[in-house]
């Protein structure tokens, strides 16, 4: 490997800073009392406390999964603080009242909230650690009957919806990390698009982990009723820390008849330093239920951060003619490990799914695609197309593909394609012979490689993702 190929990825993390805000932190450790504390702090109804306790009991009986192709030291769940909220001074009526320190953080992150919202027509529900601080455009959305708020607010204002749908796609005992999240989640987003409403703008949430040592357990719930449609954007950054931070989110999507949910993520959490010290452990359960006929659920993700990524945004295609999509770019560098992919569960007739996964590994990192396509006996004429491409930069990294295909209906059509390529000396030489330096060459090759996925992103996200990748891989080629 030429020296060029070794250095492009090693740009220091841009968003590494800690905002000094007084936090209200629960004592470390997990037990029923802590769960009761969280529930009380958030003024939750009894049924929600029961939901949490049931999940906790379930979690106690479960063991941490070990099948994934990632390696990390055992997590000490008793060493984590499960609740942290910026101390509220008083109820905030407008953006002007938001802590200026907090606003400066958003500036540093490049998220000038009101300008961004106004210019881009995006409603930004900002999650800062665990408590939702400000929500914009809410009233405008409310005019068409859309509810877009933090999940803790929704628990207070629309308990019937939460009670009906929470845990309906990801049950409390679904998996180890989902059970943990169900027990201790502190906040997240809630979005409800009523019958026949096309959401007039992309909904966007910026998540950010801020308090050292506090895990963040977001819970997101999005419901699109009959004929409704919504495009939801999730972007993540985190400040630089040396101790690992656990993150175990759960996202549930529900699409009724003829409804359409598009969920896009750009994830750039702190990945650890060039020696693999620190970084976020990201164990996420994301699942969409295409419940109604002709419904559609589409996941697009650009995963560039976290020391460990464990994430399989999935679709349960229950409605006849429903469609599931998964478009993913996962970039790993240094000592990052990613085990990510999707599950497409075909239950209804004429259901279709598309999987396009692009993995890019550089440095000493390891990237795995793991995907399941299951065609149930009931799924007449189901179709799946999967394409998994890996690209290696340098010769110290690894790429793996674990496709699982289970077909229980003879009328199914399932296609799987996979490829592995390498950015090597000859590719870079070709560019350099045309006067183009290595960094620009890598950026161009990578963006070309990811084109099929970037095309799926909303415009502003696509631009951001393109920049992020170049930035991320700077110095990996040298």
């Amino acid at each position: 490997m030429s020296a060029v190929l070794q250095s492009l990825v090693n740009q220091p993390y841009k968003h590494g800073f800690v905002t000094e805000i007084e936090s209200d932190i629960a004592p470390k450790g997990l037990n029923e009392d802590i769960i009761r504390l969280i529930s009380t702090k958030k003024n939750e109804p009894e049924w929600l406390l029961s939901f949490r306790l049931k999940a906790y009991q379930k979690w106690l009986t479960m063991t941490e999964p070990e099948w994934q192709n990632v390696h990390y030291p055992k997590i000490d769940f008793q060493a984590i603080s499960y609740y942290s909220a910026p101390k509220p001074k008083k109820k905030l009526a407008s953006m002007d009242e938001v802590d200026p320190e907090l606003l400066r953080t958003f500036e540093k992150l490049g998220v000038p909230m009101h300008e961004r919202a106004a210019l881009a027509g995006v409603a930004v529900d900002v999650i800062f650690d665990s408590v939702s601080v400000a929500t914009t455009y809410k009233e405008k959305l409310a005019e068409v009957g859309i509810i877009f708020c933090s999940i803790s607010e929704a628990v207070q204002t629309h308990p019937e919806l939460i009670q009906k749908y929470l845990g309906s796609v990801v049950p409390v005992g679904d998996n180890y990390f989902a059970a943990l999240n169900s027990a201790v989640f502190t906040d997240g987003s809630f979005c409800f698009i009523p019958k026949g409403v096309k959401c007039p703008m992309d909904l966007s949430t910026y998540f950010r982990i801020n308090t050292e040592g506090s895990g963040q357990f977001e819970r997101t719930l999005i419901i699109a009723e009959e004929g409704a449609s919504v495009s939801y954007l999730e972007g993540c950054t985190a400040p630089r820390f040396d101790t690992n931070q656990l993150h175990a989110a759960v996202v549930e999507l529900i699409a009724l008849d003829n409804a359409d949910i598009k969920y896009s993520t750009v994830q750039n959490w702190y990945a650890g330093d060039e020696n693999g010290v620190g970084g976020i452990f990201n164990f996420v359960t994301k699942r969409g239920l295409a419940k109604g006929i002709n419904s559609r659920i589409s996941w697009t993700q650009v995963e560039t951060g976290s020391a460990i990524t464990w994430k399989y945004p999935s679709c349960i295609l229950r409605g006849d003619n429903s469609v599931g999509e998964f478009y993913s770019v996962a970039v790993t560098n240094n000592y990052q490990q990613a085990d990510t992919g999707t599950k497409m569960i075909h239950l209804g007739k004429n259901t279709r799914s598309t999987i396009v996964s692009k993995g890019i590994s550089s440095g000493h990192s390891n990237s795995s695609y793991r995907g399941l396509v299951r065609i149930a006996p009931t799924a007449e004429n189901a179709r799946n197309y999967s394409q998994c491409d890996s690209m290696l930069i340098g010769d110290q990294c690894g790429a793996h593909t674990f496709p699982y295909i289970q077909v229980h209906n003879n009328s199914a059509k399932v296609e799987h394609e996979a490829s592995t390529s390498k950015i090597g000396e000859d590719q870079l030489f070709y560019f350099s012979q045309r006067g183009i330096d290595a960094e620009e060459a890598v950026s161009m090759i990578i963006n070309g490689f990811c084109k099929d996925v970037f095309q799926q992103l909303p415009m502003e996200f696509a631009v951001e993702a393109t920049k992020l990748l170049s930035f991320k891989l700077e110095g990996s080629v040298g």
Partner: protein, 264 residues
Amino acid sequence: MINKNSTTILSVQGLRASINGTEILKGIDLTVKRGEIHAIMGLNGSGKSTFAKVLAGHSAYEVTGGSIQFEGKNLLELPPEERARAGLFLAFQYPIEIPGVANTQFLRLAYNTVQGQRGKAELDPLEFDDFVREKMKLLDMKPDFLDRSVNEGFSGGEKKRNEILQMALLEPKLSILDETDSGLDIDALKIVANGVNQIANPNNAMILVTHYQRLLDYIVPDFVHVMQAGRIVMTGGKELALELETRGYDWISANKQSVAGVIV
């Protein structure tokens, strides 16, 4: 075209190079002046493609001796991208494919990088589009070529035409064509040769690396050099290529001593 008064572009002296410890080039001497077309011929493994790559600065090869002057500059001190910006161009024998990157995007980046270095104005996508379409006529290329991914799914002929198009765009001072004729049918060969002939002028120079003399029917060289085992063993005019064609490379081995004494 030979012109006694023209200035030297490239001067190679005693060049030695190896890959993974194996010496491939064992002392090459070559002088190229403006306006000249040189052909380097030889069997597979004689070192002619290696010579082309070493001139362009491929990092897999280690230069172990000798010197290369390019327009008075020490070429060996420059990384490959600076050699390219200084006006040295290599048309690749096996151009790489770049999936997902449109040709027009790649060509414009290369053009703006190289021409920008020479103090020319960079072209925006629309200006570039007009410019590149004009150049494409030289090579009889279809417009849809611009939107296709770089070399992906191209036929051998299309790839080679793309190389020559890049040469036309970048206006190099010295172009090295590495086996540009290989894999081309006769029609494609004529188109490529015609493009090359239109690019050649009294201010630039070319080195054609080729196995067969076929290409030289269409691009007439001023000098023909024969390489064997990492050295130029014989140099002559265009008739040397014809002689090789009829007598074969064995003839060189047998006559190297005596013939070389006369011609070189």
